[in-house]
Amino acid sequence: MENPIWGNGFFKKKKKEDDIFKILKQVPIFSDLTPKELTEVEKIVHKRSYKKNETIIHAGDPGLGMYIIVKGSVEIVEQDEKAGKRTLAKLSDGSFFGDMALLDEDPRSASAIALVDSEIMGFFRPEFLDLIYRKPKLGIKVLLALARVLGERLRHTNELLTQIQEKKV
């Protein structure tokens, strides 16, 4: 049973912070960070709640940053004029999306919609750039991890392309 005196105070806050740290640790770009460094990241993320069917990001909007699913489920969809709505992925707790927007402001390529009531954390480029300047050591750590994630994705895309080309030949 929850302690009536401490239940709403310090311990509950600490528990919530631990949960956030656990989620952040699951995200590859934060996985190498120490607890102290995670506290710095925790200070700049935005926690949001989305209702079922609510749009989190709109395709075509300028990219601002990435989102991490704390609790819930999110569908990544692409709207095609001919083919209509196409689901690209369904993501759940601990997954992340929109990470390319940490690097530039190019328009979002797909929309993200909450499939159920969801808790989401947003990590955005302006705060990331500010973090790189203020805490270069930490910033570089995150930046390197981001480069690793994008590199892996590029390698995977290359493999797929090679497979397609081989099939054509």
Binding site: K43, I44, H46, K47, R48, Y50, K51, K52, N53, E54, T55, I56, I57, H58, G60, D61, P62, L64, G122, F124, P126, E127, D130, Y133, R134, K135, P136
Partner: protein
């Protein structure tokens, strides 16, 4: 499907309450303004200071200092500089302005009035016209100097009476991100990214603009002091308050087009009051110094430190200065243009947001909510 009037009732009620609350807020602000004016001014000054000091704090943090310590060091430094300069300068400025006023009232104006009256009598055979001209001129000069004295006196008492500004500044720098997060957490999801992006862009651009203006004013001030110091050396000290005049010229430079003229006037008046043997030459050199300072500022300093996006039409500047003067006197005139600049930067970012975010997207106008309701 047809929509009946009773189906719109809840929507109309919602709009009514929104409009009612907005009107209530406006009425409250209008009535509360005289009571919160001082606090508001304190917050504006503290905010300006926080914008100016943040880069220094960030730099120290970048060098490895904890943010709290970085803010504390910068604040102590600023406290010391501001405290020493104001305790030395403000009483001196007030004394200078008051002495100029009394000097003008006693002999110089009478002297020049007589000269002007004689000139009109000799050339136009109309002493009455001469008297009218001198009376208008006297009135104008005394009003100008009176408002100047009042301005410095109010700034002095203002700064002396409040030690709160540094505390507000401290917390504005320390908790800026927390305040921003708290504010943005209240924005509905559909406008979240748009608002966050616009707030960041406005913060960034306005910060750059304020820092650029401050740096520009500082450089113009220093250049004017150097120029006037050289005049003092060459002509055997016709400008005793050249440091103060230079500082004023730097501040006046916040007003484009008109600023340089405002900046040169005190130097010319003080030179005339001191009446050195080669007055004409001294006046000429003062004008040359201010033209040179402006040329250097326009050619090298401004393009580097002041954002080009804030270039203002001369007409905008004049209108802003007049409105600023009407609202808050000399202080209003000085800060009208920077304030207009801030508004311009902010509105351009809002327009950018409206252009780049699809505001008419179904999910932004409540399509999902209606789906959920069904």
């Amino acid at each position: 499907m047809d929509i009946y009037a009773f189906q719109l009732y809840s929507q109309i009620l919602k709009i009514f309450w929104r409009v009612f609350l907005i009107i209530l807020a406006i009425v409250f602000m209008v009535f509360a303004f005289p009571y919160v004016k001082d606090v508001l001014i304190m917050f504006i000054i503290a905010w300006l200071l926080s914008v100016l000091l943040s880069p220094l704090v960030n730099f120290l943090e970048h060098k490895g200092l904890a943010r709290g310590w970085a803010i504390l060091i910068v604040m102590i430094l600023i406290f010391a500089i501001v405290g020493v300069s104001f305790s030395l300068l403000i009483p001196r400025i007030i004394r200078t302005v008051e002495s100029i006023i009394s000097k003008l009232q006693s002999d110089v104006i009478t002297d020049y009035s007589l000269k002007i009256e004689n000139f009109f009598e000799k050339n136009f055979n109309n002493a009455e016209l001469g008297r009218n001209v001198t009376a208008t001129l006297n009135d104008l000069i005394l009003k100008l100097l009176g408002s100047l004295g009042e301005f410095f006196r109010s700034v002095g008492s203002f700064l002396a009476s409040i030690v709160i500004i540094p505390f507000i500044t401290f917390f504005l720098i320390k908790d800026a991100r927390r305040f921003k997060r708290a504010f943005i957490s209240q924005v509905p999801n559909r406008y979240f990214e748009l608002s966050l992006n616009i707030i960041h862009k406005i913060g960034n651009q306005v910060g750059k603009y304020i820092q650029g203006q401050a740096l520009d004013a500082l450089i113009v001030g220093i250049l004017s002091i150097i120029g006037l110091f050289i005049i003092n050396l060459v002509f055997d000290g016709p400008l005793p308050y050249f440091v103060l005049i230079g500082m004023f010229a730097g501040l006046a430079n916040l007003i484009p087009y008109l600023g340089p003229v405002f900046g040169a006037v005190p130097a010319l008046i003080i030179a005339i009051l001191n009446n050195p043997p080669n007055l004409g030459l001294v006046l000429l050199w003062i004008v040359i110094v201010f033209i040179l300072v402006q040329a250097i500022d326009n050619a090298f300093v401004s393009p580097m430190v002041v954002s080009k996006s804030v270039n203002m039409h001369p007409l905008t500047v004049v209108v802003a200065v007049i409105i600023g003067g009407n609202i808050a006197g000399a202080m209003g005139m000085l800060f009208a243009v920077p304030f207009t600049g801030i508004l311009k930067v902010a509105s351009s970012q809002v327009i950018w947001g409206i252009k780049n975010y699809e505001l008419s997207h179904p999910s932004r106008v409540g399509e999902n909510l209606s789906k959920k309701d069904k």
